[in-house]
Amino acid sequence: MIRILRADMARLRKSTSFRLSLLGMLVLSILFMIMQATGMDYTVPLSRVIFLPMSMYGVAMAAFISVFVGTDFSDGFIRNKLLTADHRCNLVVSQIIVSCMGCLIIYIAITVFTAVVGRFFFEDNVNQAVFFRYFILGIGMSLVTGCIFSVITMLCGSKTTAILWCMGLAFGMLFLCLHTNEILVQTAYKNGAPNPRYVSGFRRELCGILHDLNPCGQAAQLSGWEVWHPVRELLFNCILIIGLPAVCCMLFRRKDIY
């Protein structure tokens, strides 16, 4: 497994999809900063901008991982790896680790870039302790994103199918996040009267769980500088990071690689 990991990390360093995803996210970060700096008639605080590029993180990572991991299947290289690997699970785990590393590198690069550049153009209202906590939560989010899309790609077995599923899921998660966020931000009272759009009870709890389970929902909370249930998010991230590779190992063991 160490040899496969080393080979995949070397491939990641030279991967065009990784570089393009990183470049795309950097461009997005610059665009968002320009829009926030010029579009508002008040001084925008830095906290509004630091995690703003993460709103498109899911789509970018879906494109990167499906192409990067899918190339092994389209080139037939996966069969060579299976010959080298002691066990199919080693291959799955190494692939997931490399994908997560790629996602993590992009997340750290974009967040640090936005934080450093943003300090010159926005009002620095960021509390260091709060930023550190949110940064750690963002690491969890990026690892979960890497796990989800690499598992899907490994189980699809075909690059094109993997791209369709990963990008479709990324758009789906984004729209779900918008929907649940729209529900959760409604207040109980509006203009002094009960708000008809306010949802309470079990439905509110369910929306909250979906919002915290969804990596795009986590990104939305980070970009809004308000994480409602950080412990619950951490718990969900741990469950997904452990559970998804386990499920993938079970299913990949019986998969026909052609």
Partner: protein
């Protein structure tokens, strides 16, 4: 070119993705109309008209057609069929335009089946029309031209990228980017010219301050340019059709034809000289 067209349509008849999309777009509008009818039953909401249901799936069809075009044309590059076509004597022009016409035909067939299904389901559940027949016919023409532009963009990307997977990612990202850009322009253009200096909410009433110019409102030349770009983009037209906003619809067909000519030329010219590996 006739032989390539015949071969393309024969392939299309057997394409499972096309038929899956065809059946989905036949059933989905009926399902959506039913859900809208059920949720509106007994509620004091705004009335729903047939046109609301008729055009509400239009942006979705654009995405579906973009994906289908990439899957359909990308297979030709992955399996080296394009080189075979060149070997037997067909010119690049014939290959490009045959593929172009095939893709536009199947996009329009999916659009028309969806409009037919939405129209029938909308009439069964809602009965009331908001617009005149002439206006609806004109808007359907706008949808057709807009769909042709979306298809031309997908054909342009797929025929010049030469790899199915890369073309798929590029097409989805481009479609997403133009949708997001059009949504941004819509948000900016919808800002009102005047706003209230203050809003005071009490238990009895809501007190509004005096009206002042809205600092977020963009006027003058900048607004004209933004409106032009918003109408020129096929995603802009799709959003306006979906939102039933027909203020500037009279110029949409002309702008769509201009975009179609530009994109067709932009697609064919690089393909003429590209290296088909």
């Amino acid at each position: 070119m006739r032989k390539i067209l015949c071969a393309n349509f024969y392939r299309l008849r057997k394409d499972k993705f096309f038929w899956s999309a065809f059946l989905s777009l036949l059933a989905l509008p009926v399902f959506i109309s039913f859900i809208s009818y059920q949720s509106n039953l007994g509620q004091d909401h705004d009335p729903i008209y047939v046109e609301t249901v008729l055009f509400n799936l239009f942006p979705v069809i654009a995405f579906v057609c973009a994906v289908l075009i990439v899957l359909y044309l990308g297979t030709e590059f992955d399996e080296n069929t394009v080189r075979n076509k060149l070997s037997v004597g067909h010119t690049r022009k014939e290959i490009y335009y045959a593929n172009y016409l095939t893709c536009i035909t199947f996009s329009l067939s999916l659009l028309l089946i969806c409009l037919l299904s939405s129209g029938v389901a909308g009439y069964i559940f809602f009965r009331d029309f908001l617009l005149s027949r002439t206006r609806i016919t004109f808007l359907i023409l706008c949808c057709i031209l807009c769909m042709m532009v979306f298809s031309a963009i997908s054909v342009w990307l797929t025929m010049n990228i030469h790899r199915k997977s890369t073309a798929l990612v590029a097409t989805l990202l481009v479609m997403f980017a133009i949708m997001i850009f059009a949504s941004y322009l819509e948000g900016v253009l919808e800002e009102p010219e005047m706003t209230y200096s203050s809003v005071t909410v009490t238990m009895e009433e809501v007190e509004l301050g005096e009206q002042v110019p809205n600092p977020s409102y963009i006027g003058g030349t900048a607004r004209t340019i933004m409106e032009f770009v918003f109408d020129m983009l096929p995603s802009g037209q799709a959003i306006q059709i979906n939102n039933m906003n027909f203020d500037r619809c009279l110029r949409w067909p002309l702008l769509s034809v201009i975009m179609l000519a530009i994109i067709t030329a932009a697609g064919y010219l690089p393909f003429r000289r590209s290296d088909l590996q």
